[in-house]
């Protein structure tokens, strides 16, 4: 009994401390904020001066990873079969191609077919493809942190960053870097569980689905969330939260009523759980 009371007291104290900490910056005064604004402005100029490419090209590249990963899975599956069976023709085919280097190489099946195959694949295959996507995302996330560390953003102090500010960093800076927007909503229980809501998740905005998207369609689009799952884990790993301590899952959520209609009917939620 006594102990629980003490715990309670302590947690209240902790809460107070958090409040106090959040109060200090505002209490310091206006001079600080103008300095801050100046730095922000400088950051903006710096960001704008960096070389750029088209976002359409970037989104196509990101999304094409899904059929690509499925194509790789298929090729590797075929190869395994060939080792067992009598599948010499595939090998000879590629060798024939080697001679005429400038001829176009054999093409994988079109993306839409690969996406459908991914949907129909058994669970084991499906998971291997998703793992591949998460790996790509993980590496992107790792390096995005580096990119942002060197941006001189005055809001970032990695030295004394608690988990909440790390998540804020993901919601604000990482998202803006990748999707030109911020996460719409961040929820947490202050015990290592976070929900990141993005109601207009960029990579799938160009997907045309019926107004009432069917369960099947939603399931087919789902692999397109996995790279970002990897990105979140990658960023966390680069700031010192080992991937085995992090669980990240993506799922659909309903978009809030007041949001204007977008082409994709569902919002996306990333559920992140970090064990400390």
């Amino acid at each position: 009994m006594v102990r629980t009371k003490e715990d309670l007291n302590q947690s209240i104290k902790k809460m107070n401390r958090i409040n106090a900490a959040s109060n200090t910056p505002t209490a310091v005064g206006t001079q600080e904020t103008t300095e801050q604004q100046k730095l922000q402005h400088q950051l903006q100029i710096f960001q704008n001066s960096l070389p750029k490419v088209s976002q359409t090209a970037y989104m196509l590249l990101l999304n094409e990873c899904v059929p690509l990963s499925m194509a790789v899975e298929k090729k590797r599956g075929d190869r395994a079969l060939n080792l067992v069976g009598n599948g010499d023709d595939e090998v000879s085919q590629t060798e024939g191609k080697l001679e005429g280097v400038h001829l176009s190489p054999p093409l994988d099946p079109p993306s839409n077919q690969l996406c459908r195959e991914l949907y129909e694949a058994d669970e084991e295959k499906h998971n291997r493809v998703l793992d591949r996507l998460r790996n790509i995302g993980f590496e992107i996330g790792n390096k995005v942190t580096e990119l942002l560390v060197f941006s001189n953003n005055p809001n970032l102090h990695f030295k004394d960053m608690d988990l909440l500010s790390v998540m804020k960093f993901i919601c604000r800076d990482v998202w803006r870097q990748m999707f030109n927007k911020q996460v719409d909503n961040l929820k947490t229980n202050h015990r290592g569980t976070f929900y990141l809501f993005d109601y207009d998740y960029k990579p799938i905005q160009t997907f045309a689905l019926d107004s009432e998207s069917s369960a099947k369609e939603l399931q087919m689009v789902k692999p397109f969330l996995e790279i970002t799952v990897g990105v979140i884990k990658g960023v966390l790993a680069s700031i010192g939260h080992a991937p085995e301590n992090v669980v990240c899952l993506a799922s659909y959520v309903d978009r809030p009523e007041e949001k204007p209609r977008s082409s994709f009917t569902k919002g996306v939620s990333f559920h992140v759980q970090v064990t400390m």
Partner: protein
């Protein structure tokens, strides 16, 4: 006389579209994303770089057939009557709008059906250094060949696209070759003529 003014207008169309009608992302992010994809492929194939090349090409093809739609919608440019026009469109508009670069067009074949693009700054391979074993076989930016192949096929130009040299391989320049095989015919529906 009309050619210089036309080519100038192509250039302005490209620059205008890039400046005003294109949402942009950091080129370094693009570079490192592509790097992550290539390295995953190399890991998947145990450094069998020929297969990696093929997958990159294929991936590019699938992007190209979609990218051309965006390109035509953005620029509203008409069909090119010859390969010279096509080459200008590619270098001054397409590369400008999507990658913010303008490669030089050179090395025309005598029949004017093949040309080279010189990629001086290539946002795909910025800060990239290939390990020794990859230098021989890997065409790091092979996705570009696929994109061009796919996009050109959608405007009825059957082309072969391949890299001749790459700075990453120790060559002095990065040269991409485009060769027209044939102009695909517009199909008329059966019974229409």
């Amino acid at each position: 006389m009309s050619t210089p003014t036309q080519s100038k207008s192509l250039k302005t169309i490209g620059e205008d579209t890039w400046k005003n009608k294109t949402e942009k992302v950091n080129a370094e992010l693009f570079t490192l994303t592509y790097g992550a994809i290539v390295s995953q492929l190399c890991a998947d194939y145990d450094r069998d770089f020929q297969k990696v090349n093929n997958h990159l090409f294929s991936m590019g093809y699938n992007i190209g057939v979609r990218l051309i739609e965006d390109f035509l919608a953005r620029t509203a440019l008409p069909r090119c009557e010859n390969m010279v026009k096509t080459s200008e469109m590619i270098s001054k508009c397409a590369f400008k709008i999507f990658l913010n670069m303008t490669p030089q067009v050179t090395n025309w074949s005598t029949e004017k059906d093949a040309f080279s693009l010189m990629l001086e700054e290539n946002p795909l391979s910025d800060f990239v250094e290939l390990p020794v074993d990859a230098m021989k076989q890997l065409w790091y930016s092979n996705v570009l060949c696929g994109v061009l192949k796919g996009a050109l096929e959608m405007v009825q130009l059957d082309c072969d696209v391949w890299f001749i040299s790459d700075i990453l391989k120790g060559d002095s320049q990065t040269e991409l070759r485009i060769k027209l095989n044939k102009v695909l015919k517009d199909e008329v529906p059966i019974g229409e003529d």
